[in-house]
């Protein structure tokens, strides 16, 4: 059986009414267990979101468990966070005791290692999520442990700082491609060929935005200050506060414009066997997503935060597209190793996967 040229292969069929009981009971259980339930809460929330996500004619399935997330977090704390913390204390003691050279060296090594581990964590989180995502009984994964990616994460970001940071788009694109090129679904490897072309304009705008914004604010203030004879009238002060918010919003807008194009371009550069991918969210969609988050949290006095996962997942799914066809007989089971524990490192660092 084949499904030809589905335009919107991804659809989200969840409703917030169905999700609310999950979100609220998760909140309750997380509170009464002093936060320990949050691993199981994450698994429960994902199981719902995945199960209401349709790809072509069948639903995704989240097969991860709270127990493995808990185990992963525990391992990350014992094997990585505590030793690094210990080394850091040692470095401080050495510096205080007058061994500045040795202490500084250890401190630098710890900082580098930490940075490498952030890269490894991001890689492994993606790997874990693919390995736990099933569609028609088939899952994804990777056999790459992500250590090389960890080093790339450090040196590519370092290179990204060259030329006053103008290499950063290259670093982001290159890391995205490296990460996804190591992933697979079923028997097929992902191919990520995202390009930097076309991103530089918006990136330079991000660079200039704070200066432009503050400059414009300054210009706008001149008449207000002059009218007040060098002192600021209350109305003028109000204008300044409003203006500061304006600058903040303006900078956010410009950064969002860059990120929207970056994300679109990265997804469009991806393919899996005969499938090509696309992402249709434009800058305004991202802005609406984040303003919606803020409004939701503010209006509900914070409780709405438990719906943010839902909103974001829905956002990604509804804007994600796939073109091509899937040969279900050729889509055989992944041969990659199944993970034994969850995204522990990532949980410890508290990061997202994309």
């Amino acid at each position: 059986m084949s499904d030809h040229d589905q335009v919107s292969a991804f659809t989200f069929e969840g409703t917030w009414r169905e999700y609310a009981p999950i979100a609220f009971t998760n909140l309750l259980l997380t509170i009464v267990t002093l936060g320990i339930y949050r691993f199981w809460a994450t698994a429960r929330s994902r199981r719902y979101l995945w199960s209401r996500t349709r790809f072509i004619d069948d639903y995704l399935e989240w097969a991860g468990t709270g127990g493995e997330l808990f185990k992963g977090a525990l391992i990350a704390v014992v094997v990585i966070i505590l030793p690094l913390y210990g080394l850091n204390i040692l470095a401080q003691h050495l510096i205080l005791a007058g061994h500045a050279g040795l202490g500084g060296l250890i401190g630098f090594a710890v900082a580098m290692l930490f940075y490498v581990l952030i890269g490894v964590a991001l890689f492994r989180a993606l790997r874990y999520r693919l390995a736990r995502t099933y569609w028609r009984g088939i899952r994804g994964g990777s056999d790459n442990p992500g250590l090389t990616y960890g080093w790339s994460y450090v040196w590519k970001h370092f290179v990204g700082l060259f030329a006053l940071g103008l290499m950063m788009p290259w670093a982001m694109v290159s890391l995205w491609n490296e990460r996804w090129n190591a992933m697979s679904f079923g028997p097929y490897e992902f191919s990520a060929r995202g390009r930097v072309d076309g991103l530089m304009g918006r990136y330079i705008m991000c660079y200039l935005a704070p200066f432009v914004g503050i400059g414009m604010l300054g210009l706008a203030m001149i008449p207000a200050v002059m009218a007040g004879n060098g002192r600021m009238a209350p109305a003028a002060a109000f204008t300044v506060v409003l203006g500061a918010f304006g600058v903040y919003f303006f900078v956010g807008l410009v950064v969002m414009a860059y990120y929207a194009k970056y994300f679109r371009q990265m997804v469009e550069g991806m393919s899996l066997d005969t499938l090509e991918f696309g992402f249709s969210a434009r800058t305004m969609d991202w802005i609406k997503l984040y303003l919606g988050d803020v409004a939701l949290v503010v209006v509900t006095l914070g409780v709405g935060a438990i719906f943010i996962n839902y909103r974001h997942w829905k956002f990604y799914v509804t804007h994600m597209h796939a073109y091509g066809h899937v040969d279900v007989d050729a889509l055989t089971q992944s041969a990659t190793a199944a993970p034994s524990q969850g995204e522990g490192l990532l949980d410890a660092f508290d990061m997202g996967a994309f």
Binding site: T33, Y37, W40, A63, R136, I138
Partner: protein, 355 residues
């Protein structure tokens, strides 16, 4: 008879092909069959509940990764009876029910929090006095350059402390050149008496009350408890005396629990009674303190204040006076005078402790 059959779909975990299947109950086993799959009997114990999307139930198989059986609801009762139960929250929460599980977990968490909060109270007395002494010396040093001491004042304070507290090793009472109207029990079994309080005291009995109270903190191990509560292990680990004034400031401002303060008061009154010193003047002393600072520590709110209500304390000390009993002064006029004069007579070059 013909058994009812459940309709469903099967993914075998090897390819993404979907197979139409039918499942029927066959004794204690499930009979699975379909046009594209070989008929097989499945042991229900090998099945694992995965999910319950609208209109269906999804099961996996313990030995077959990716194997998924999706059965459309409603199911025939005999098939449903063989299938594993649906899980919602996971493990023991499903077994107990959400309400009871949340209640139990809440109680357990409250117990854990209570344990952690009360940890210093029962851990404090377990720390050997020798360790506390080392920590105290490490933190504060011997403080000799900040204290006022003449041979007469030393003798008077040692005598008063020995009388109030015959325990060994003796608690050292040190007079500190500071205007603060206060006294403090510090780590290592020492009591600091600030000159401000001495100058304010109207009789030796008042000093006896205050010193007795602080010795009470030492003997009841409140100092270690408070240190553990306020600084945790960081204090024990920090060790060396980095900034004496800052550390001393922190230690002097250490708060004891209301219960600890009452315990120290009780200790002081008992010791004073044992050596025939009247608690009356101490009562008056607390009354004067209350008059200086009347508002914040009165009424029902005083329960939450870190220091006991001075009026209440004054009352308790006055009530401890036994009518008709013959009391003697805690110190002779000469001894009291020596203590009051110590900071004036001790001419060592020190302008006092800078906080």
């Amino acid at each position: 008879m013909s058994a009812e059959v459940a309709a469903g779909e099967l993914f075998d975990g090897t390819s993404a092909r979907r197979h139409a299947v039918q499942v029927a109950a066959a004794g204690a086993e499930l009979l699975l069959a379909g046009p594209e799959v070989p008929e097989e009997r499945i042991e229900p114990a090998r099945l694992a509940f995965i999910d319950a999307p609208p209109g269906a139930l999804v099961y996996g198989h313990a030995d077959r990764p990716g194997w998924r059986l999706r059965l459309f609801t409603p199911l025939p009762p005999d098939v449903a009876a063989l299938l594993p139960a649906a899980a919602r929250f996971g493990g023991w929460i499903d077994r107990l029910g959400l309400g009871r599980a949340a209640l139990l977990a809440g109680l357990a968490s409250a117990a854990v929090v209570a344990l952690v909060i009360s940890l210093p109270s029962w851990l404090g007395p377990l720390v050997p006095m020798g360790v506390e002494r080392e920590i105290g010396d490490g933190l504060l040093g011997d403080l000799r350059q900040h204290s006022c001491s003449t041979p007469d004042s030393e003798a008077a304070l040692t005598a008063l402390a020995a009388e109030l507290d015959p325990d060994r090793p003796p608690v050292k009472v040190q007079l500190v050149r500071m205007g603060l109207v206060n006294a403090a029990a510090v780590p290592g079994g020492r009591v600091l008496l600030f000159d401000g309080l001495v100058q304010q005291a109207k009789s030796p009995d008042e000093l006896a009350g205050v010193i007795g109270h602080e010795i009470g903190h030492v003997r009841k191990r409140h100092v270690m408890q408070a240190m553990l509560r306020e600084f945790g292990l960081s204090l024990v680990l920090r060790g060396s005396q980095t900034q004496l004034a800052g550390t001393l400031g922190q230690v002097a401002e250490m708060r004891y629990s209301r219960g600890a303060e009452a315990e120290a008061d009780t200790f002081a009154r008992a010791r004073m009674a044992a050596v025939d010193v009247s608690p009356a003047d101490s009562g008056a002393f607390f009354e004067r303190m209350a008059a200086k600072d009347p508002a914040p520590r009165s009424g029902p709110l005083s329960w939450f204040a870190s220091h006991p209500d001075p009026e209440l304390r004054a009352g308790e000390f006055r009530a401890a006076v036994q009518p008709g009993r013959h009391y003697r002064p805690a110190l002779s006029e000469a001894q009291f005078g020596a203590i009051r004069q110590a900071c004036h007579d001790d001419k060592r070059k020190d302008e006092g402790l800078k906080w």
